[in-house]
């Protein structure tokens, strides 16, 4: 259908250069497919190398840092732009000139949906044209975005629930790679990784992918808050697809492959257009072109959402914040299970920053980091906590903070974490404190030697010590047992004792969040366990 038209079409300089290369079909849509493939493979590459064995210096969270919605929303919650998030400008500024090109040229999650729609979507031409008309449903993504931004203004960052890059990273880390490793053992992990609640994350991924058969690019058109953000931004764009009404024969062929459902056959909805160029390729009479500042009457510049809905969405967001905080899960009613990774901000600031991308979960070398379900409250869904049944926090490791794009987990050094060298006085970062359950502990309750906990305790001196006692066993024979204790001033809450405890179902030593250094409200020992911290006023020295 398109072959004959290619050479008769008026071509720009760029296209002339491309066409001069013989034997290559360098239509703009093919160039776009190459771009999509490149960024998709780059994304997969970065996901796979986010592993202690391969990480070296790769920018593991590059896509998240380029995501302008992450930069914008964290700026709303914290009033600042954290480190690499400044890179969001690299995507935001071109959008101001070209429109939402990110969605169909770069976004790896968009490429996933484009690909599945192309593979499994409808083949019948007329059905495809009807499927690609603009739907009012598409205003939902703006409602979602506005509600999330309203929540962000109160300090609750929720964009990560649906931000495509956070969502895709989260799905890869918690479901896709562990799932592939289940089917093909020893591919992505030395030992199989498990993730609490992976079924929910995986189920949502499958749902979004399968929905492409019902509505092509369902997620991108209807739900994506980043798409909504870029759609609102592209209101200012200087270039857009323009239809020449004098040439147009109203055949609607331009809708056959339209990705954004932006109505190129009539007034273009600028906020919905993914700049995929399919319509230009599909037009049989060359009525469509990508133009600099075309006629304003031929476009609908603003997103398709009435002002009353904007107000409603804002109110829903504000109410959502109030409802989410009502349980007190991030405050007085905090769960003992919410043990955050080392370097995490205190809980309210953590919730201002965490986008639930779960990069920390991906990079963690022990599988201890797990996405929450309701442990950290509604706002904390899919944020990382430590689960000592599955792993423990490695003493000489701060990888989670180094891949965190938003500073929810700060980039602390090993020295700062362990409290050595220049940081001896402030002491180590504590995640919680370990407590014995003497009714379950073998030397305490069962006349049996053990103290694996003491063996693996990584601090020096060990936080776990034991006292020898000789008791008479039930059968009358004497036995000398080492019975373990925790010295709370030494305990950093890493949880390796709980992880290695032979009582696998419910360990006889368990770490809870109390004593964590990130929050003074959750501290345990007033003197930090060090009596020399008490100023001796009589002798005027410490």
């Amino acid at each position: 259908m398109k072959v004959d038209q290619k050479d008769t079409r008026p071509a720009g300089l760029f296209q002339k250069i491309l066409r001069s290369v013989k034997g290559l079909d360098l239509r703009i849509t093919n160039v776009r497919v190459v771009s999509q493939a490149f960024f998709f493979l780059l994304f997969l590459f970065l996901v796979i190398v986010t592993d202690l064995r391969y990480l070296k210096g790769y920018p593991a969270s590059l896509f998240l840092e380029l995501d302008p919605l992450v930069g914008f929303a964290t700026a709303v919650t914290t009033g600042s732009i954290y480190k690499g998030l400044i890179l969001g400008l690299i995507l935001l500024i071109p959008t101001l000139f070209l429109g939402r090109f990110f969605c169909n040229w770069i976004c790896p999650y968009g490429t996933l949906h484009h690909l599945t729609g192309w593979l499994f979507g409808r083949k019948d031409l007329q059905a495809r044209i009807e499927n690609n008309r603009f739907r009012k449903l598409q205003q939902w993504k703006y409602i979602i975005l506005i509600a999330m931004v309203a929540m962000a203004m109160f300090g609750s960052l929720q964009i990560g629930l649906l931000d495509p890059l956070a969502l895709f990273h989260r799905s890869m880390s918690t479901v896709v790679l562990p799932g592939l490793n289940q089917i093909f053992p020893d591919t992505f992990y030395v030992q199989q990784y498990y993730h609490v609640g992976a079924w929910l994350i995986g189920g949502l991924l499958l749902f979004f992918v399968v929905m492409n058969v019902v509505i092509p690019r369902f997620f991108c058109r209807v739900l994506c808050p980043l798409g909504a953000f870029l759609g609102a931004t592209s209101r200012f764009s200087l270039f857009r697809i323009e239809r020449d009404p004098n040439k147009c024969i109203d055949c609607d062929a331009c809708l056959t492959n339209c990705q954004g459902a932006c109505d190129p056959h009539t007034q273009l909805r600028k906020s919905e257009c993914f700049v995929c160029f399919e319509c230009i390729e599909d037009c049989p009479v060359d009525a469509l072109s990508f133009k600099f500042m075309p006629n304003r009457d031929h476009e609908i510049a603003s997103p398709p959402i009435p002002g009353r809905r904007v107000a409603m969405a804002s109110l829903v967001g504000a109410a959502g914040y109030a409802v989410a905080r009502a349980s007190g899960a991030s405050d007085k009613n905090f769960s003992k299970k919410v043990i955050r990774p080392p370097g995490s901000m205190k809980e309210d600031q953590f919730l201002e920053r965490c986008i639930k991308c779960d990069q920390c979960i991906r990079v963690c070398p022990t599988n201890v980091l797990q996405p929450t379900l309701m442990e950290a409250g509604l706002e904390g869904v899919w944020t990382p906590i430590l689960n000592m049944k599955l792993g423990y926090c490695e003493l000489n490791c701060t990888l989670c903070g180094h891949v965190c794009p938003t500073g929810a987990i700060q980039r602390i050094t090993i020295e700062e974490k362990t409290g050595v060298g220049d940081f001896t006085e402030q002491g180590p970062v504590r995640l919680g404190t370990a407590f014995y359950d003497r009714g379950r502990c073998l030397p305490w309750a069962m006349e049996t030697p053990c103290v694996v906990c003491e063996e693996v305790c990584p601090t020096s001196p060990k936080a776990i010590f034991s006292r020898e006692v000789t008791i008479t066993k039930r059968d009358g024979t004497p036995i000398t047992l080492s019975r373990p204790y925790v010295e709370p001033s030494r305990c950093i809450g890493c949880g390796i004792c709980e992880h290695e405890c032979p009582l696998k179902d419910h360990a006889a030593i368990r770490v809870t969040a109390i004593g964590e250094t990130r929050s003074s409200e959750r501290s345990l020992l007033m003197d930090g366990g060090d009596p020399t911290n008490i100023l001796d006023l009589v002798r005027k020295k410490r």
């Binding site: 020893d186 030395v190 070398p365 022990t366 000489n396 053990c450 020096s460 080492s482 290695e500 032979p502």
Partner: protein, 335 residues
């Protein structure tokens, strides 16, 4: 709506169609019965009490020498030279390794720690032993361990991965598929998941361990090093730690063990964590009998009384080694 008029087909099926359909239905019927009968399981089992079986390791010892010592103590200031001096005293690596051998070196990489803290086998010790193996004609050197901390972190931060990359050693991670059940008549060990992949190719096995204090069994030396070949619920081992460690002497007969006492972890073992836990003793002990080597190391390196180390007594009593190392052929040298 009125009911649709139904008109029966006057002809029905043809004979050919009848035979085809009958054969198809009959075939699927018989097939279902046959398949079900073939898969029918009528065994009686009590889960957890099924008969267990496992592999046994071949011996890796070389023939005993009538003249050369079986235990060498070398003193020196440089790690590589001191290890070479100890091996030289035993008759050189050539006594143990033939041309074309695949050599497995089992370091102790249990923890995610830098070398200076002495909780793991020192990378320079691995370098020296691997180089000597290649000089003696080894075709390939395999390095394997199943650490307590995460394997990737342990190999990376202990510095062993860098040496393995440098010398082109084959580093094996304890992947799920690398384990199989081992079987023995131990005091307590009978059947246990065993890191067998490295043994599928190894002709010779060298244990290369640091010398460390241990919170429960007092010392972690060459015998305790084999702990890192086991998988499964190792955290139960502490309940019978001395029996388990003596069982290791039954489980494996290595070609050679080397106890690196250049720096010794004297306290807070087996993890250590501070430089003040480490003491320079500048000694390497090597030998063919791990019970003798550990007995020697416990006294000479850790400075403790062998009379108190129960697992040595157990192994000695069962004839798995000689804890009275001074009665064997031994020699002490300076590097």
């Amino acid at each position: 709506m009125s009911k649709q008029e139904f008109e029966p087909d006057p002809k029905g099926v043809s004979r050919r169609e009848f035979i085809q359909q009958a054969l198809l239905t009959g075939g699927v019927t018989l097939g279902s019965i046959g398949l079900a009968a073939a898969l029918w399981d009528r065994r009686h089992i009590v889960p957890g009490f099924e008969a267990k079986e496992g592999i046994q390791l071949p011996g890796f010892r070389v023939d005993a020498s009538l003249t050369l010592p079986d235990l060498a103590i070398a003193h020196g200031t440089e790690r590589g030279q001191t290890i070479r001096a100890a091996l030289g005293t035993l008759g050189g690596m050539g006594r143990f390794i033939q041309h074309g051998d695949v050599v497995l070196i089992k370091p102790n990489v249990a923890f995610d720690r830098p070398p200076a803290l002495c909780a793991t086998t020192h990378p320079e010790a691995l370098r020296a032993v691997a180089q000597m193996a290649f000089e003696a004609g080894a075709k390939e050197v395999v390095v394997a361990d199943n650490p307590i901390n995460s394997p990737a972190g342990c190999f990376l931060k202990s510095g062993l991965e860098a040496v393995a990359d440098d010398l082109n050693l084959k580093l094996l991670y304890p992947e799920q598929s690398a384990f199989t059940t081992i079987e023995m008549e131990g005091e307590i060990l009978r059947h246990w998941p065993f890191f067998n992949r490295p043994f599928q190719r190894a002709d010779k096995v060298i244990g290369l361990s640091p010398c460390k204090d241990h919170n429960l069994c007092s010392a972690s030396m060459t015998m305790k090093n084999w702990y890192g070949l086991l998988g499964g619920r190792r955290n139960q081992f502490h309940q019978h730690i001395h029996s388990i460690i003596s069982d290791f002497a039954l489980m494996i007969q290595p070609t050679l063990v080397i106890l690196d006492g250049m720096d010794v972890l004297m306290s807070n073992g087996p993890t250590g964590g501070r430089l003040s836990d480490v003491k320079s003793v500048n000694t390497v002990i090597a030998g063919t009998d791990m019970v003798a080597v550990d007995s020697c190391g416990y006294g000479q390196l850790l400075g403790r009384d062998v009379a108190n180390l129960e697992y040595l007594h157990k192994a000695h009593a069962r004839g798995l080694g000689n804890m009275d190392w001074k009665t064997s052929k031994w020699k002490e040298v300076g590097a």
